[in-house]
Symmetry: C2
Subunit: 457 residues, 2 copies
């Protein structure tokens, strides 16, 4: 004698429940991800297409993103998400360009103007460099804002103008056009507002969808790791790098990723005009150090991916020779001119004005520089007006921070550790205090971190 269990619906020869016609498929997809089930590519494509078309609401996508943040996405799901995001907009057609197409991308660091050097340097090795980027928010600067510190220079261009300049010069640095992966723009704004930024799969899909839509054939990724980066541990950085490289490979794009240090600013300046000055100094061969070294490493990797060099070491030497030969500087000047900027800044970087109020920060104790809270340093720059917290904030290209010290430096009392260039005394004082409290001192010698932790291919 059968008896239905008390805590389950009685089912002796049960049929499936009747369908609920008109049931929203978005809710089913969200529920499946919420319950940790792997989604079919079609379900993900439908959700993102629905979102792009307005049929799936922001709230539904936000719930989906949080469910995915907590339950995770498989590789197959991440690929499907990337494809669906690419499909939300236009794909550029680079097939008419001569030579191997190339791009470089950083996950975002402080004092990172490598794009301004890598783009012309890779072009000087024969690559066709199409470098598109977005506007930055938060503590890391934006390549576009830096370039626009050059009077007259425009980064907002049509796809046709971008392609025409690559065809002409071999290099362009521009803003992503609005028709390129519109779903990513909307999703990023949602993620920023809903605490779902820091998920590997969502990060990789966001980064890679934009690169795949731009259609570039070779890609070097600079995955930042440390106090100034979103990723604070090497395992996470390695995983993101591997995921991005896997997405690229699957789509037929050759890619290498370097996991690089962001426990201190990459260069010695934070700001816009001031970082352009530093990039020009590197292009002119007047500046060594970690910033120059990373530009050479990234370009060398691109040379190896493009077949220009037999391996990364050979690529590095090629890049070094090209930089020293001045070809990259010349190409940068032509890029500035072609994009409407004043090319005379290349010969005379002092034409780029710096903030009128100058504050010096000097060491008030002796010791070894053991820690730099690099995010705090970036935020000090934002406070000066070098970056944005919200999309509608204006940038002051003149303001910034010069920081000649590096982790591991021995510093005596009174040594200059930072020079602030501000628009007004109040913000200068705040930035000076922030810089001071971002530094940690040790009474014992400290060895600074390496520049490159590892390469992921």
């Amino acid at each position: 004698m059968a008896r239905p269990p008390e805590d389950h619906p009685a089912q002796v020869s049960g049929q499936p429940p009747a369908d609920a016609p008109g049931q929203a498929s978005a809710v089913e997809v969200i529920a499946a991800k919420r319950d940790g089930r792997e989604l079919a590519a079609d379900d993900i494509a439908g959700l993102i297409a629905g979102f792009a078309a307005g049929a799936v609401t922001d709230s539904q996508l936000a719930a989906f993103l949080m469910a995915g943040y907590l339950q995770g996405f498989s590789h197959a799901e991440t690929w499907a998400l990337t494809d669906a995001m690419v499909d939300s907009g236009r794909r550029l057609d680079l097939s008419g360009l001569r030579g191997p197409t190339a791009d470089q991308l950083s996950t975002g660091g402080v004092s990172d103007a490598t794009s301004l050097v890598v783009a012309p340097l890779a072009a000087s090795l024969g690559m066709q460099v199409l470098m598109l980027s977005g506007r930055g928010l938060g503590h890391t600067g934006s390549t576009l804002d830096k370039l626009e510190a050059i009077p007259g220079l425009r980064t907002e261009r049509t796809a046709e103008e971008l392609l025409a300049q690559v065809d002409d010069l071999g290099v362009v640095i521009g803003a992503e056009t609005a028709d390129l992966v519109p779903a990513d723009r909307a999703m990023y704004a949602l993620r920023d507002a809903t605490a779902t930024v820091g998920n590997q799969s969502l990060m990789a899909a966001s980064i890679m969808s934009r690169k795949l839509a731009a259609g570039v054939g070779r890609l070097v990724l600079d995955v930042k790791l440390g106090s100034g980066a979103l990723l604070k541990d090497q395992a996470s950085a390695r995983a993101l790098a591997a995921l991005c490289v896997a997405i690229a490979t699957r789509a037929g794009t050759s890619a290498t990723a370097l996991v690089t240090d962001m426990n201190q600013p990459l260069g010695t300046t934070i700001g816009n005009a001031i970082e352009v000055r530093e990039a020009i100094a590197v292009l002119r061969g007047e500046r060594g150090g970690r910033f120059r070294q990373l530009c050479l490493e990234l370009t060398g990797r691109l040379a190896a991916l493009s077949g220009t060099a037999t391996d990364p070491a050979a690529g590095l030497h090629q890049a070094e020779r090209a930089l020293d030969g001045g070809e990259a500087l010349e190409l940068f000047a032509r890029l500035v001119e072609s994009q409407g900027g004043d090319p005379s800044v290349v010969d005379d970087p002092a034409r780029l004005p710096l903030g009128p109020v100058v504050r010096e920060v000097r060491a008030d104790r002796a010791g070894w520089l053991g820690a730099m809270d690099t995010e705090a340093l970036g935020l000090a720059g934002v406070h000066l007006g070098a970056g944005r917290r919200r999309a509608d904030e204006l940038i002051d290209p003149r303001v910034g921070i010069e920081m000649p010290v590096r982790l591991g430096d021995r510093v005596e009392v009174g040594l200059l550790v930072a020079r602030i260039f501000a628009s007004d005394p109040g913000s200068a004082d705040v930035a000076a205090a922030a810089v001071r409290s971002a530094l940690g001192w040790s009474d014992e010698p400290v060895i600074g971190p390496p520049l490159i932790y590892e390469a992921v291919e």
Copy 2:
């Protein structure tokens, strides 16, 4: 010699990172819940108040709800959430009413018109019954739609009208006013669209915020369990019941919850006019069975909470005597009249018209009725027009299903298992097929489930 570890930011004598002024506190609250941290009551209050004021977006609340769905809420968080939701709107002041105030609430079942009996029955025992409910969506019917099947009857009333009728008659059944817990209405719509309905804490906060805002002093909860309920296992139903009772107790409301069976329709009818007919038959003492029994049990619990009876058993006997004495029927007739309806239906329920197209469903095999997919039966009613899938759909009060069989019944070939009352032949055929496939048969005797699984006090 100290060396900063490679995978962590260098921190030798580190300071906390500089504050990010203007950082959205909603994002911080979402991130904390995402990371499984317990939130302070103030953080929850701020988030819900921000949502009610429009400063926290739907997307942010959706992300928060999904994070909470997956990470869970503590009891303290659930209390804070309930309080914050109550604070989004008006609280009714019942202090002017004579006698103990009482209410009954079901989590939603099929063929559940208990409110129509319990409200006048509890009032006949001297309680002041203020029963407010919302419009239903999905497979369970709504008390308001059922009452409105009585010609002329209005459930949309102002708070003042509601209180005046309780003061006059001792009983009112009305729609929740728009100023009562507006945050719950908005949150429920979001949860419905984002697959975050089925979380115990969110369910308890939703249910209890509305009851606490209504200010009633004694509450009996009917937590449904089974194939026609949201909760399918007894542990979940018990946990929800306990959580609701704990929230009530903390707020000074006396409450008991019964976990009751929803593996089959409670009564023998599904629809609006047809369920009112059945409720009137119970009030007239013409109908026994599980529906009548549950009405007596729920009312008995209220009597015990109110001090009218010494314990639930004594309350049950009181309720039984009152029902048999006809006082509840008389009060129901006065309620109908006071709310604008035609009280003659109480003497002649056949004045409530049923759908003109009638289909009989007869057993095509012999056996014991072993399973009823009660959600499917509810959806068959919705398909006929007795319920809504979307808020803007119209109800046809005449349509419904009569189902004389119960789990465990021995049925011979040709026995009537359902009678469909439809507005048109097409929907009648669909409903008949749905009813047929919702039934499961056994070749061995089956014992039907109990009516009440347990009481939670």
